[in-house]
Symmetry: C2
Subunit: 873 residues, 2 copies
Amino acid sequence: MVKYVYSFKEGNKDMRELLGGKGANLAEMTNLGLPVPNGFIITTEACNKYYENNQEISKDVIDQVFIKLSELEKETGKKLGDPINPLLLSVRSGARVSMPGMMDTILNLGLNDEVAEGYAKHHNDYRFIYDSYRRFIQMYADVVKGYPSSRFEDIINELKKEKGINDDQELSAQDMVTLTNRFKEAYVEMAKEEFPQDPKEQLIGAITAVFRSWNNERAIIYRKMHDIPHDWGTAVNVQEMVYGNRGDDCGTGVAFTRNPVTGENKLFGEYLINAQGEDVVAGIRTPKPIETLKEIMPDIYNEFQSYCKILENHYKDMQDLEFTIENGKLYILQTRNGKRTAKAAIKIAVDMVKEGLITKEDAILKVEPNQLDQLLHPNFDEESLNKASVIATGLAASPGAATGKIYFTAEDVSKAKERGETAILVREDTSPEDIKGMKDAVGILTIRGGITSHAAVVARGMGRCCITGCETLSIDLNNKTLTTKDGKVFKEGDYLSLDGTTGNVYGEMVKTKEPEISGDFEEFMSWVDSIRTLGVKANADTVRDTKQALKFGAEGIGLCRTEHMFFEKNRIFYVRKMILANNDEERKDALNTLLTIQREDFESIFKVMNDKPITIRYLDPPLHEFLPKTEKEVQELAKSLQISRAEVINRIENLKEINPMMGHRGCRLAITYPEIIIMQTKAIIEAVINVAWLGFTVVPELMIPLVSDVHELKYLKEIIIDTANNVMKEHGVKVKYKIGTMIETPRASLLADEISPEVDFFSFGTNDLTQMTYGFSRDDAGKFLTDYYEKGIFEKDPFERLDCDGVGKLVEMAVIRGKSANKSLELGICGEHGGEPSSIEFFHKVGLDYVSCSPYRIPIARLAAAQVKLKEI
Amino acid sequence: MVKYVYSFKEGNKDMRELLGGKGANLAEMTNLGLPVPNGFIITTEACNKYYENNQEISKDVIDQVFIKLSELEKETGKKLGDPINPLLLSVRSGARVSMPGMMDTILNLGLNDEVAEGYAKHHNDYRFIYDSYRRFIQMYADVVKGYPSSRFEDIINELKKEKGINDDQELSAQDMVTLTNRFKEAYVEMAKEEFPQDPKEQLIGAITAVFRSWNNERAIIYRKMHDIPHDWGTAVNVQEMVYGNRGDDCGTGVAFTRNPVTGENKLFGEYLINAQGEDVVAGIRTPKPIETLKEIMPDIYNEFQSYCKILENHYKDMQDLEFTIENGKLYILQTRNGKRTAKAAIKIAVDMVKEGLITKEDAILKVEPNQLDQLLHPNFDEESLNKASVIATGLAASPGAATGKIYFTAEDVSKAKERGETAILVREDTSPEDIKGMKDAVGILTIRGGITSHAAVVARGMGRCCITGCETLSIDLNNKTLTTKDGKVFKEGDYLSLDGTTGNVYGEMVKTKEPEISGDFEEFMSWVDSIRTLGVKANADTVRDTKQALKFGAEGIGLCRTEHMFFEKNRIFYVRKMILANNDEERKDALNTLLTIQREDFESIFKVMNDKPITIRYLDPPLHEFLPKTEKEVQELAKSLQISRAEVINRIENLKEINPMMGHRGCRLAITYPEIIIMQTKAIIEAVINVAWLGFTVVPELMIPLVSDVHELKYLKEIIIDTANNVMKEHGVKVKYKIGTMIETPRASLLADEISPEVDFFSFGTNDLTQMTYGFSRDDAGKFLTDYYEKGIFEKDPFERLDCDGVGKLVEMAVIRGKSANKSLELGICGEHGGEPSSIEFFHKVGLDYVSCSPYRIPIARLAAAQVKLKEI
């Protein structure tokens, strides 16, 4: 018989696949002797079984739950449904990895009319127990039945109006009884049946609801964002309730063992006296800093600090804890590795190495490569910042700088993003429904909530800049305006700038500048580089990008796209002239001008590169991409070529293609117009010769794109060699260079052993390879991929993350075949996957020599490369 | 040392790779004891060496030529350059397979001033020897030096004018001497040097010219058309001249051992008395039928007939011979397997089996599958034909029926074809320069030339309808008109119709009808079917096509494209309504109408199929293909949907795609709009149920297109099964059906083992697979593939003939992986390659169960399938 339910004592931290992260840690803490309320865990397997079984919870799971329930009753000395000494339960989700706020929770389970009344009488505490009961009814109605919470909120507001009070705190014991009764009436109205009085029925209902919440929309979106497989399922934690809201010797809070924003080694957190745990996270009351607890409850504070130490030493990582104080007794409700900013991640990792807690290798594995992105993107330019006016200051919840137009709903932000705007989401507070808007925003600003509020936690996870608790601002949702305490009004679409590192909000656009990189970062990256074996190069076409790339640690340029040099204002005209030339002479004229321009471009880049390797790709896009798009440009060109406007338009029409992605581009262009590849080869070789006089030794790697047949390559290779020889002869010098090809059509992969003997290197173009392997165009796939995600057909975008099963098979095939026919073949990848960690892992494993990615992804790639190397050992 | 030169005695017919077809056969005939003028052969290897060696003939080849020359001089008792008894030579090309008229030939080599004068004096025959000399000068200037022949023609015409004569025959001996002198002067003028007097220099020049002619443009085009590899090279045959133009006891002719048009077992050919061989082929003088030779030279005729018998028995095939009679002695100059019409090919094959000459298996291998095409295409509808007026009658040179607009140059025909017209090429006579135009024409009409003229031979090879020798018509090239003997004038672009089976030319468009299939054909195809193991099905979407397919022997429908049912006039409107519906109700309405229509379509086809298997593909093309293209249609739709014209245009714009080939189509459509696949499944299953009442048992094979991931398939399969179950439940019956998928993306091939367990069958869509594997769009590739052919990068169009190396590898992979995970998987192919013989060979070898092709290709596919099976044994 499969075991579907584990008591806390039966588990440990290594069982997270089965018990979920929360459950495994509760078990671990129990066995460490920490004060954890007792309970049991229903496994992720039971969840998967629930889905296999047409969303029905199976009898053997129920049976095992009731056995564990009996044990729990025995241990606690309480009994579910007992009116004098009732066992009250929390029922919480817990997946393998934390998905904060994504799934459902039910508290105070076990209450019914009899228990509430019995307990109230026996303990003489009507207010507490009926407060709990009414909360339970509302949660149960919402989570298990899906009835709107607002219905219950309305009842509370009504009662408060009747009584003329503002604050929930002011509600009396009698009010709580009244609320409970009115809630039950509302429940009957919606459910057409009484609120369930059988605590066991309540329990199974709640467990089922948690299973079901695994597949609610926001959970699905969250998993997609974080690459969490849909088939992992969630575990369910059933645990004895403890209460932080039974008086002033009670309280609840959350804390990190170190600062999750800066990484500072100091307890960081907040708490509320006389409150339920959800109150802290929800951000409805603004909590107090954890330090102040030291004064109010010094013993509790010291006890808590000692647990923090124990847990950090045990888990060897910064912990994120939830605790509750019930009538002067401390309970730890949860621990997990804490989410942190990239800056904090680096500092914590480096500090822990220095503290002797972990090794350098451990440190490297502790930082999520994608997170580094936060560190590398621009901050505000200080000069501009000084001139800008601060309209408010909130909590610095997630660092970074964001400037954008403000919108007041997640939906409006998403729409603005679709229009191509950069948008900032402004909300009272955020809830899991806002996830998509938060993702689409460049920054998030909330009026309420602390640094552990939903907005703050989610934003840090996403690397979005976020300011919370900015209480001096007020929102008018009807008129879509934001007003400062001075009465200044910002309308929807107005610009704000957020500084997530200081919490300052600026009432205008503020210029940004390059980030400064800390000493911890440098040290950490030096460990990274000493481990990794995979090379990391950059895709860069300009001097600016090249400098940026070198600063971020690129070992060379893996892709220099020559067409980008063509698009600049003064040049595009000659490109157009070349394309539409009336005769050979005109074409030669245009080509000569372009030759001069390209040669100079290459010289500038070569000087910056300082002898590092550079791979230059020949012209790739279809010619029509260069042609005039506006009437003005058409007329200009017509005039210059001395042909009619109609003729220009006619020639443009002739160059149009039905499927340009698979059209006349890449090496196909060079075959039709050898003069282009001749010009480009000349420009490169001449530039090499020119910088040689300045003491630079460049060995350019010339790359032919979009090859699908070895004969294309042979034909062009001959032209390149002839041209290079001519240039060298003319200048009376010898120059070294390499010739290689992109592998970006399936055919090139399949026939790599025919191609490799002809070249010095392969560079995989996984963007095009993905398009052709799936047979879908990146430009058009957006339309249907949304349906694919919604219907669970695709888990992730294959353009973002390499499809290792399909596209990866072609890469691997090309590596094996290519190497078999040319032992000294160099192998790289220059598609966008070159900067994506899971893809980098794959590239390392199949034996590529390097990845090439955009400059800002370089540190990410370096770290990912080191991590895969470490995992290998 | 490599042997580059073989005497005829040293060779045999099996050495055609080395000696070329002509050389190998000359050697074979020599060894059979037939009267063949003596000579030797320079091998194809020498030709390849010439090209490897930068187009220079190497010294060892020259040395070996001179050694063989000495032997030849010894055997003939003549000597090259001897003024009394000179050896005169022909130098001819000879590739592995015949390429008639494509490469160069030089005759009368060995003549110079001294030889001509010496011979003339000694034999007292000035006219003959100077006629030969002037011909040699002209040929040498043309072939070796590339000077225009027209320059020499002008000199002849000038002299004829001076003398007041019309016919070359009337030129006197003195005239020939004059011509020779004037030719030499013209030569000096063009070459800036004297005509070469050293016969050995002439010989090496001529050999080099033949090598060079292997790569002339028309030869390259011919090879491309006939799939002859460019690296085969040509051999060169050097042979003692014999002369058919030394008097009335001389002559020359060509003959087929059987009729190459009808296949009748009767000598078929023509000859000219007192003429050179080239005169017959060139079509300048109209020759006499071979039968008449029996009366003029009965002994020669009988001797020739006996050689025909010997050769046919020896080669076990119909032979095409060239002969010359020199002063009453018969020489055989060439034999080769004769080209023939499809009808003749079938009849000859069947007859030879009945004669006991060959086996049925031999017969099957003797017919070129592609040729059957000729038999299957429409002939003229007799009723229309009877009403049409015959404006002229020529020789029925190549059968078939053609109606089209007339053009007078090959170039104009090609341009007309590009414009989408069907064009007929009308010429005085054709020459190898016209090849491309002949290919682009639907029919060819020449004023001069016999049934073995260039036009006739090439047209038969291509399967083009052709009428030659239509001497009552006259062409005015300047005004681009064709005039009948009655003075009726046809301008460029006017319609003519050609009946290649009767030789009749009609001065208008004539309707066509289905071909009738002969008893020989039926018998032959029954042998074919008894041999082949590969199934042959048809791509057919209509009752008409289905009937046609069954008539041609299809064993089922391998591809029924449901979208074609949508395009018909009354239906497209509902399709548009479905696509642009304002709401679900409108969409449902449209879908219901389409359901009725599709169900009826399927019922009609099922009835015709008579229980044969049928594979139905779900909607495949992107929806925008169905949308209105004209203003009228847009307005109609706007009115019906009660939306504005602008809104319709807006929705059309929204559906546009950048790369529609890789866009929202195939299974991607069904995933976004499951209602379409539900409707189609309903229509199919209901149709099956409806025809079941009529006694038909249909097991439809439902095919999902463009799958690239198993999850797409699983998702749709579930919908199909649910829908089918619902229909069956509703009707209270059970229906069998299969579910399969097209394999047409590289990813589906790579992951075939994930996909195959989910399906009953795979059907390869090699059109799309080719596009994606190469990464080029068929719609756009035309623009650059021309350059690819010209530059020798591609030999052939991969859309016409499967690329076995690349695309084929994916097919093979999918077969192996697919079968490994599903032993009972059925495998077919329904791309256009399914009707192309070399591709069929590949499909058989990798183990497919069937090919599916267009109805007209069915017999071709059957024959190709039988041939590959026979080759296997």
